[in-house]
Symmetry: C2
Subunit: 351 residues, 2 copies
Amino acid sequence: MKFEAVTIKDIARALGLSTSTVSRALRDSYEISQETKKLVLDYAQKINYHPNPIALSLKERRSRSIGMIVCEIANSYFSQVINGAESIAYNRGYNVIIGQSRESFEREMLNLQYLTSRSIDGLIISVSAETKDFSYFKELSQKGMPIVFFDRIVDNVETHKVIVDNYKGAYDATVHLIRNGYRNIATLSNAPVLSIARDRLAGYKAALQDNGLEVKEEMIRHCVHGGMLLDEVETAMKDLLALKNKPDAILAAADKLTTGCLRILKANGLKVPDDMALVGFSNTDLTELLDPPLSVIRQPAFEMGEVATDLLLQLIESKRPVTEFETRVLTTELIVRDSSKPIRNKVRAMV
Amino acid sequence: MKFEAVTIKDIARALGLSTSTVSRALRDSYEISQETKKLVLDYAQKINYHPNPIALSLKERRSRSIGMIVCEIANSYFSQVINGAESIAYNRGYNVIIGQSRESFEREMLNLQYLTSRSIDGLIISVSAETKDFSYFKELSQKGMPIVFFDRIVDNVETHKVIVDNYKGAYDATVHLIRNGYRNIATLSNAPVLSIARDRLAGYKAALQDNGLEVKEEMIRHCVHGGMLLDEVETAMKDLLALKNKPDAILAAADKLTTGCLRILKANGLKVPDDMALVGFSNTDLTELLDPPLSVIRQPAFEMGEVATDLLLQLIESKRPVTEFETRVLTTELIVRDSSKPIRNKVRAMV
DNA sequence: TTGTATGCGTTATCAG
DNA sequence: CTGATAACGCATACAA
């Protein structure tokens, strides 16, 4: 019943050769005569022989598959990263095995154990927002498993990292808002345990300070669940709108926070940017079709997947020493559309 | 250097037992004494033993991983399907290995060979728009490989299928437009080789006919690349808008066609629905935030992934005979928003 | 140039 | 109850 594959043995038997001869012929070994090679190759072709990768894995102690853990596949950012990763891996003869943490530490660990027990040759991961204990990664890394962290990295673990210049992304976006006349800029931030959240927040603060504006704590709202729960964003927005000194602009420091913020503003009948300007990190589709189109900070997601995978494969294939930790930094792109253009009356009022 | 795992042998040596005893103890075999079992189990726990799944695969001739081929991972619909598939697979102890065809037959075949040579236990696939030759699937299926087709199915191959009631989805949406006073309804359709395109087109036609409206061929535009190329959509739209009898509404029969159509309309300064009503198949985010919000036909993508995977795993685990082909049908959801509401003047004009 | 034997980690079969 | 051995498919050191 089950998919009976042809093996090297079948070829050997049929051709009256030994399995080793066949094996060597197939691998084009120099110690096999041209005739025998041709004989074997032709026959293998004819009966559609394919080496069993599982047997190979067992022998070579490697599986030619890499694990990838993200918090959510159905997130446009991560799906774009996966896309980039898959394209590189595929070209180099590797499989990508996907796992989702769904922002849960427990699920992340389960996935991790599962993947490592599956003998992956390396791991690409963007940690969950819940993850505070990185001992397992350290242990794994010390055992020789190549690991590349991307996007959400881990500061106190020496590893390979691919990140985006989140500081600059947030800084530039904030400066952009300031230049357009906004003075009361609030920010929606992810859980502060996340490196990306800290970097973006730092960029936001620095931009304010460099432009002589005060950083006010009440203007900074953390959404611990990263906007997975709309409630969280709603509460944050309500709080901001209830302030005596209401913000006139918002920097949304994550994809889900950007769309969440848009939803809440819309639900409350507030217009962007007339009632509230908004610039956010976003890789979501259709942002340019909103009315007015939304300005966003876009991450090089596909490229992120490519770079991380390329680095990992170099580590796996020992083209690069595992212990010489490297950090690659990509840059975000600020896409300016209508939503953050100068508000004429405000700008006039300030002149 | 490389990740040295503990094996059953290590345990055997350390405890002065044979590998077979250890193996049996670990598998809780009845023929092992309680003491020995405890001894082995405790020690295995202590040194953190995990069975090598590759060795297991070689022995059991199965890999506990399933292949999944879609045309594009970074497509919200497919990423949602993958999400559903992953969640089911994960709970049942299976890996999902992803491949992308990018709408290319060649790439699809390469992926397919790659995955099967990787000893996947089963396959879930939504075929590429280019695929016309299904002999490879037939062959694979006859060799005993469980295959579940989803979404884009193959009519002339007897297989397991999970589909959406595309006919009804298109029918209902078209009827909805008709009820709201539109009489010149055009449609953007995918490549007609795709089952989903044919079904949707049939639903559109039936809705017109059932309501006494004429089906006009010039109102039906096929986009062979499924809207991957915006040019294609643009050409189609330009042609429609150049008609003597211009359409007053459009049924976009695929995700990319819906967003593509929106983009083109916007680029040409046409308003939805005042200048042109639009209802489309779409699982894209943010459609409800457009101004006015877009009415869409939403597919149960996550559920699609779940159902297909559940079916496949039943086949793999022989809980269901592979030869009793089954087709499961899910239903779409018509989400009515402003973009297809009655146009007052038009309706008045008709009364 | 080709063949034989061994091992990768595991389980199943057969002996004890 | 436990141990030795073969087998899964392949590659390779060693023999010939």
